[in-house]
């Protein structure tokens, strides 16, 4: 594949960034999710349910910031793959590390 073909292909993968109004909407959504997380902290729930819900809300916030504010949803997919290799590798390595040391038991 020639350099110009790859560049053209890369441009085809890129999409326009969101408008400022959409950024404000995403920030409000992030604030609401954070408020729900904090509210959960004060609710009597089983530890497993609480941890599951908190991690799920945290993941929602993580993806909203990376996909919209960091533009991973709109930029070249190579960047998404590069970053998520780091994220997935970190999750796997440290989960294995903590499981080995019985931290979750």
């Amino acid at each position: 594949m020639t350099e110009s073909t790859m560049t053209a292909e890369s441009a085809a993968h890129e999409h326009p960034h969101p408008s400022p109004a959409k950024y404000v909407g995403i920030a409000l959504l992030l604030a609401v999710v954070t408020a729900i997380e904090v509210a959960l902290y004060y609710v009597e729930l089983s530890d497993n349910l609480m941890i599951g819900l908190l991690l799920a809300f945290s993941a929602v916030k993580f993806f909203l910031v990376t996909f919209f504010f960091m533009h991973l949803r709109f930029d070249n997919p190579l960047l998404r793959r590069l970053f998520f290799v780091g994220v997935v590798l970190a999750c796997l390595v440290y989960t294995a590390f903590l499981l080995t040391l019985n931290v979750f038991s």
Binding site: P16, V24, S58, F83, A90
Partner: protein, 202 residues
């Protein structure tokens, strides 16, 4: 020129094989490696937080959740002002660019100020770097995050200075995008720290 055209011009000005600016690719590789760095610190905290303290309280005994929630909200909002700064330079609006960059630096400073206050309060309550391994893991993790935020604030202020001298036209929007990627990454690291360290039961 529309915002979309500005993005494409910026992305292609270097004519790389991948079609992605080398600086942007390098920044994403750096951020991917930072995931492993912060992963190590968070894992250390999870490993040591339950260990009995030699003296003083455990970290979870002294957390002030309402205060840290407000700090988290402040940092989240700084991500909004950062992305608005990028949108401003892509429109060629240098005045708004400086305004949003200053707002980002101020919100970041507020977060760091809150962290200093929190550390001081914890120390007064007996939780220090040396009081327990949990305390050590907590201060190292949140301290490194605070250092990253401080680096980001200095980066924002330097961009404000460069822009004030006319050195940031919209053709150089990649400079702001790089700072933005770093800043948003610091924000997502805090999203994880806030949930795992502060909210998750020990």
């Amino acid at each position: 020129m529309t915002m979309t055209e500005a993005n494409v011009v910026t992305a292609h000005e270097e004519h790389t094989v991948t079609g992605i600016s080398n600086r942007k690719l390098g920044m994403w590789a750096f951020l991917a490696s930072e995931c492993l760095f912060f992963g190590a610190l968070i894992s250390s905290y999870l490993l040591y937080r339950g260990k009995p303290a030699v003296s003083g309280p455990n970290p979870s005994d002294v957390y002030d959740i309402p205060f840290t929630s407000i700090s988290s909200f402040v940092l989240l909002m700084s991500s909004l002002t950062m992305v608005l700064a990028l949108a401003a330079i892509q429109r060629g609006d240098e005045q708004r660019l400086r305004l949003w960059l200053i707002a980002t630096a101020l919100l970041g400073s507020l977060f760091v100020g809150g962290q200093i206050y929190e550390f001081t309060t914890f120390a007064e309550e007996g939780l220090t770097l040396r009081s327990s391994v949990g305390g050590t893991a907590f201060f190292v993790l949140t301290g490194f995050h605070g250092a990253h935020v401080t680096g980001g604030i200095l980066w924002m202020l330097s961009l404000v200075g460069i822009s004030a001298r006319g050195g940031l036209p919209k053709e150089r929007s990649l400079d702001v995008e790089m700072a933005g990627l770093y800043w948003h990454f610091v924000d997502i690291v805090w999203i994880v720290i806030f949930t795992v360290v502060y909210l998750t039961p020990s």
